[in-house]
């Protein structure tokens, strides 16, 4: 990858940085959800429709993730930029495109989750360094600490996106070049796995509510009806 190639990835890294920041630090408006983030990434390279398709697949996976306080969860913002760009950059009909792009996105989301854990530890170290000033009630120390954390998170998301793209772009091309499976089968495999995770996630959050399981079954029946009617 040349310096020029790297520079061309910078807008995507900036997008990954902003979306990575949204996951926890600011403003948590869920622009980091795959259905948004992947579509924006696709739009940035002129393929919003393909970005959206990848985003929908990843959104099924993300249905399961709940960012409870200190628990560990995947970071979907930067990961969706990676998955969205990989899938959107290839022509429709590329063998195995969606499968490999989804796998790259899931791996990035996992690494992104770990990077958030590291950042939270770093935040604690910085907080300890400011402890004396904060204990004395320094307003400026509180504000400075807040800005350091947010800037670091922005850089984390940007660096993660850039490194993931640098690693996965050539890998993606190499792997898809060896595959002969049809694009339809590739999509079907991703949809099957993603829908299973998504359906199980919905079940998990609604099954304790009285009557909700019947709403789900009724909805599924209607959904299959609509899908059949759309053919």
């Amino acid at each position: 990858m040349t310096f020029t190639d790297l520079m061309m990835l910078m807008p995507l890294a900036v997008l990954g940085a902003v979306l990575g920041l949204d996951v926890v630090s600011f403003p948590q408006a869920m622009i980091s959800r795959p259905i948004v983030a992947s579509t924006l990434a696709g739009a940035l390279i002129g393929q919003p429709g393909r970005g959206l398709v990848m985003g929908v697949a990843l959104e099924f996976f993300a249905l399961e993730s709940m960012p409870f306080g200190a628990s560990r969860y995947p970071e979907w913002g930067s990961a969706s930029v990676v998955g969205g760009v990989l899938f959107a950059q290839t022509a429709d009909g590329t063998a195995g495109a969606m499968t490999v792009a989804a796998l790259a996105a899931l791996l990035t989301a996992s690494i992104g989750g770990s990077s958030m854990v590291l950042l939270r530890r770093a935040n604690a170290v910085w907080a300890r360094k400011q402890q004396a000033r904060i204990t004395r009630g320094s307003g400026s120390a509180v504000v400075a600490l807040q800005l350091v954390g947010m800037t670091s998170d922005l850089l984390r998301g940007g660096a993660l996106t850039l490194v993931a793209l640098v690693v996965f772009m050539p890998l993606y091309e190499a792997v898809t070049a060896t595959l002969t499976i049809s694009p339809v089968l590739s999509r079907a495999v991703v949809v099957s796995i993603a829908s299973a995770v998504g359906l199980a996630a919905v079940w998990k959050v609604v099954h304790t509510t009285v009557g909700a399981r019947w709403y789900l079954l009724g909805g599924l029946a209607m959904g299959f009806g609509i899908a059949a009617a759309l053919k």
Binding site: M66, F68, G69, A70, S71, R72, V117, R120, R121, A124, K204, V205, H207, T208, T209, V210
Partner: protein
């Protein structure tokens, strides 16, 4: 189904408990054991607001919890007992030795505590109290949410707990 989870968590009722454990384990009731909360009406009201309408929450002191434990165990619903600190759980176990497993779900930072995992910070006295529990035959593990692996006490105290 019965009262099957005995959790130490200084946040007591919060999202990990109500949603993180409550949904996959279909928890039907919570027993909050804290001598101070049991005496404070506004705190009980606050904790009630944190529990969904379909989940029951009862408040006990250590003494009343020991007296009612058999009833909780006989409950057909799945339940979780919560204490806000290690000392309260240790006092409970001392009076109710049939508690065989204790889960450390969250003991957070304050001056004097050393990090043992991302959600467990302990003073030397608290470590000693947990080791006493273990020496008495209680299985002590660290686990914040059910999807995470339960980390044995000795692993956690080596600082090799959940990261």
């Amino acid at each position: 189904m019965t009262l099957e989870i005995f959790r130490i968590d200084d946040r007591l009722v919060h999202g990990q408990v109500v949603v993180g454990w409550g949904q996959p384990c279909s928890l039907g009731f919570l027993v909050l054991v804290d001598d101070e909360v049991a005496r404070s009406e506004w705190e009980k009201e606050l904790y009630r607001m944190g529990v969904p309408p379909e989940m029951e929450i009862v408040f006990d002191s250590v003494e009343s919890a020991v007296a009612r434990l058999a009833g909780y165990r006989a409950d057909a619903r799945a339940g979780m007992l919560l204490t806000g600190d290690i000392d309260t759980m240790a006092r409970l176990v001392a009076a109710a030795p049939d508690i065989r497993t204790v889960t450390v779900g969250g003991v957070h930072h304050k001056p004097g505590r050393v990090p043992r995992s991302r959600y467990v910070f302990l003073t030397p006295a608290e470590e000693a109290r947990l080791l006493e529990l273990a020496a008495g035959g209680v299985t002590v593990v660290a686990q914040d949410v059910p999807q995470a692996a339960a980390t044995p006490l000795e692993v956690m105290l080596r600082g090799e707990g959940p990261t």
